[in-house]
């Protein structure tokens, strides 16, 4: 406890260093703007800054990215409330209630409540992360490669949750990513796999080029390809909008919604493969179920907005727990952050807490600070956003691609990385069109090589005896959870079909 507090003090001092503090402010600003602009997701913006973090140390890099994450998950609620345009899918439940509140003339309260709920959810989840992670990491230190393989397998199996459209599509995407992870020089024997004589493939496919291409360029091409219908509607689009922070009494009245949103956000965020979108929909649904007036949901109910907004930001702290303690990214955003760790030669996992406590606690404090500063930034953003929304789409789209070019080139000063990025961009477009989810591919390319390494090492250590994965208790429990994760959607699908059939029959 005292050790944790001491580390927190040191982390607090470090996060107030000019560069680190600047990164928190810059990250929040980028995140809020990117999250709010439809078409640029929070994830895209984290991906776009990733190559530029080469120039910084690990701490400012991670502070920049976590602040983008925190600002980004909140940002989309501003445009959702103001214009009925959620910046990200995770902001959809907020939009359902927030925009209705706007139409009722309560836009200031809706914006203020969204800001406060996000800040409270994010701050408390960062506190939970701070105090829950070290003991969890101590347990994780007793793991061998057998347990790690089981945990990585659990992370890979989470695609059934990520790929909600089609499990088969998600699996194709996952295995394709895992295959991309096998390209290049293999560690155990030192032979080159699947390079087919292409020089730059011998060093493997850089996952940063895959990330930038699939997410950023694929998204631009997807928007470009859309046949645009008539724009507009009856949305109330105030030229300027000021948020009014709720009074302590109003917040106290909504304490149940805040706590439920916090619990849902942290737990769902910590489950690999879920993230803020699932958290926001689950917490909104839960709030509707516990409400005495569920029929009012969708007409501008503050409880619905508060719960979903709290859970979205609470998921940020939750998602960092498996990343920092096990080295397993729990969401697309944390997968990119894992990339940032690896770019700086730091392996996230339990050893991180003993090897780099300074860095870890600076990130924790940075997250706490970012959530507090977000209250001020959110108020400013709400005022300015009507103007920022006017950035023309052509400028935005063209400059995103220019930044992708520069970001990919900056990796190794090599045009082959730019080519890879652009080609993966085209692939990203087709994946979107053919309903192949992209996050499983990212999960595959990052976790695939880890799974191979842990599996082969376990096999060497245990004489190719695969039963070792089932005889060690932690590994067996994790594998059982993995089986549950895989079987549950199939059962749900089966029962869903039966219910639909019975309804049809009736």
């Amino acid at each position: 406890m005292w050790e944790t507090l001491g580390n927190l003090g040191a982390g607090f001092a470090a996060s107030l260093e000019p560069l680190n503090f600047l990164m928190i402010l810059a990250g929040l600003a980028i995140g809020i703007v990117a999250g709010a602009l439809p078409g640029i997701t929070m994830l895209n913006s984290i991906v776009l800054v990733l190559p530029f973090t080469y120039l910084m140390g690990i701490v400012p890099s991670l502070l920049l990215m976590t602040s983008i994450y925190i600002g980004g998950v909140f940002g989309g609620s501003i445009t959702g409330i103001l214009f009925n345009i959620p910046g990200d899918p995770m902001n959809v439940p907020t939009t359902w209630e927030g925009y209705q509140l706007n139409k009722k003339g309560q836009v200031r309260l809706a914006l203020g409540m969204a800001i406060m709920a996000s800040a409270i959810g994010g701050f408390l989840s960062a506190l939970i992360l701070t105090f829950a992670s070290p003991p969890f990491a101590k347990v994780a230190l007793t793991f061998s490669t057998v347990e790690y393989f089981a945990v990585v397998l659990l992370g890979l199996a989470s695609v059934v949750v990520i790929g909600q459209v089609s499990i088969a599509g998600a699996l194709i995407s996952l295995f394709a990513g895992m295959f991309l992870g096998t390209i290049g020089t293999e560690a155990q024997y030192g032979i080159t796999r699947f390079a087919f004589g292409v020089n730059f493939l011998e060093t493997g496919v850089d996952f940063v080029t895959v990330l930038i291409g699939l997410f950023a360029i694929g998204e631009v091409l997807d928007q470009l390809s859309a046949v645009k219908g008539p724009a507009g509607g009856d949305a109330a689009t105030p030229a300027t909008a000021r948020a009014q922070l709720p009074s302590p009494r109003q917040l106290w009245a909504l304490r149940g919604s805040i706590l439920r949103g916090l619990g849902t956000g942290v737990v769902i965020g910590a489950i690999p493969g879920t993230g803020a979108t699932v958290a926001s929909f689950v917490s909104y649904g839960l709030e509707k179920q516990v409400s005495k007036h569920p029929e009012r949901f969708g007409t501008g109910v503050l409880e619905g907005l508060t719960a979903s907004e709290t859970s979205v930001n609470a998921s940020t702290g939750g998602a960092m727990i498996p990343l920092l303690t096990l080295g397993i990214p729990g969401s697309g955003a944390t997968a990119v952050m894992m990339g940032a760790f690896l770019l700086h030669g730091v392996q996230p996992g339990p050893l991180l807490f003993s090897k780099s406590p300074h860095e870890v606690y600076t990130i924790f404090v940075g997250m706490l600070l970012a959530n507090l500063i977000m209250i001020v930034m959110g108020l400013i953003a709400a005022r300015c956003f009507a103007q920022l929304m006017k950035v023309p789409e052509p400028i935005l789209a063209a400059f995103i691609i220019a930044f992708c070019f520069l970001g990919a080139y900056a990796l190794r000063n090599d045009m082959s990385d730019v080519w890879m990025t652009m080609l993966f961009g085209v692939l990203g477009f087709f994946m979107r069109r053919y309903n192949l989810p992209i996050p499983p591919l990212i999960l595959g390319i990052i976790l695939g090589p880890l799974a191979e390494q842990y599996f082969l090492t376990s096999m060497v250590s245990h004489g190719n005896d695969v039963t070792v994965f089932f005889t060690r208790p932690v590994s067996a429990a994790v594998l059982l959870t993995t089986v549950g994760l895989l079987v549950w959607p199939a059962l749900r699908w089966r029962f869903g079909r039966r219910r639909a059939y019975e309804v049809k029959k009736a």
Binding site: S166, L406, F430, Y434
Partner: protein, 167 residues
Amino acid sequence: MRSLRGAIGPALILVAAAGLFVAAGRLPVVPVPGQLGPDFWPRLVLIGLMGSCVLKLLEVARAREPAAEGGPSLPLAVPKLATGMALVLGYPALAPLLGFPLTNVLFLLAFMRLVGMRRPLPLVVTAVLGTVALLYVFVKVVYLPLPKGAGVMEDFTIFLYRLLRIF
């Protein structure tokens, strides 16, 4: 018809995965007793990929409402998309020849025009000033050795850098 279109992607991936599976068997392996070879893991992954493709093909075949699962359902602006893809792929192709500054101006002009920016003056001003800003940040501040072009274009890029006082 739409079901058939939805099956093309998984079918192509299935064929590619089968080809790669065969290629994995030809890896120059010197087997170490008691150890799995370097082809073991890729083959396992490719079996998973082929299995998933089969699953997807079955899903497409069984889908009663093809629009939901069978493939793309939203209308496509094909000429615009094709031009966009050509620009995205032409950008890295031209940069080593023309140099980053000129390629970037041309790319920004073409792409912004394609997305819908019509008025020539803002188009040119944004493309030129945007490129100058990028050059300042990435060449002057970050020291990124961006492609200068080939032959006379390299001289032009260096001249431009000197003019902007970033070289």
